[in-house]
Symmetry: C2
Subunit: 204 residues, 2 copies
């Protein structure tokens, strides 16, 4: 059986849980809290020397890392990832956008503010996180003001990847009122059968 290691209030880990649920794959979820040192134990480092979650361990023991690579792995051959061609490429554009232009700002602001209580310590750095996070949210809004999903007319792993930290962006003190298209999309994704909400952020 597939084993997934992750933290229930991490957006990157939430992605993995979602794709396993959405594709109906039996799996064991092993809760791992990096803040409690659980990714630094010898047992975990034997699975992933990088000491990062999420990871997925296949039945044969192979370990897969990188949340969006895990999404693509389990979405292959399902309705959540189009066949090779332009539609698939559009999905990957969003996946790389998420990791390069969205997560480092939207997720990190949330981490500092909602988890680690580092808001004061990082006061000088937060404005750049907010500025670049809003730039990313603006890119999403441009698409979602006119389309129900990020790619095509149905849920794909592009939506799953971006929903992860966008639906908790307010925990990083992002004002979401300028984004009615995103707001409608968030409700649309939340209403998809099989999509679960993430655990609330907790002080680590």
């Amino acid at each position: 059986m597939i084993k997934a290691y992750g933290s229930g209030n991490s957006g990157n880990c939430w992605k993995v849980k979602q794709i396993l649920e959405l594709t109906g794959r039996p799996h064991e979820w092993i809760e791992i809290r990096p803040s409690q040192g659980a990714t630094r134990t010898p047992e975990f480092l034997a699975l992933n020397p990088l000491g990062q979650v999420p990871i997925a361990v296949l039945a044969g023991g192979e370990v897969i890392t990188e949340s969006n690579a895990i999404l693509a792995h389990f979405a292959e051959g399902t309705r959540f990832l189009a066949a090779p061609g332009l539609a698939r490429t559009r999905v990957f554009e969003w996946l790389f956008f998420e990791q390069y232009s969205h997560e480092p700002y939207v997720a990190v602001a949330r981490q500092w503010i909602a988890f680690k209580g580092l808001k004061e310590k990082n006061a000088a750095l937060l404005p750049e996180k907010w500025e670049r996070g809003h730039k990313a949210l603006g890119v999403m809004e441009k698409r979602l003001a006119k389309h129900p999903y990020l790619v095509g007319d149905s849920l794909s792993i592009a939506d799953i990847a971006l929903y992860a930290y966008t639906h908790v962006a307010h925990e990083g003190e992002f004002d979401m009122t300028p984004y009615p298209g995103i707001a409608a999309w968030l409700m649309r994704i939340a209403a998809e059968p099989g999509v679960a909400s993430m655990e609330p952020a907790r002080k680590a």
Copy 2:
């Protein structure tokens, strides 16, 4: 014919040039220098409202963004991207690793030092770039000390993506002597038929 817009001394743009050459696709290369405002013209913004290079414009006029999504698009069905399965997933692990854990440190240090002359201005931030860049290089070394390529036994777009900024890491003042596996791999990739070196960094 495919049109590719990019800057000859950008690693992300180099990736696009390489995959077009390696897969034998006729294309027109349009040199665009962000430092000279060329990504902010109305003509360019009509192609990519984000104002970023590289982009690829297909014969039908569709614009593809995100360097690693462009790599995957043109590598589909070729020997540079394995069929769906674990080998393909390993390629995507490296592509996401590159954009999240490598490029923001290795490429940015180079940009500040070799292009923009911002070394002094960013003196307080450079140590973190070097530290996290070395962490990424260490991950590569762990693989390349024992294997000729990042995935499998032949050149893939994982190698192309990581070669882009690794082969010019010294321009960001990364000391590469701790990485003999990377050094051998750099020579191996450079010797691959069809792989061209990148233009040297120039002061913008």
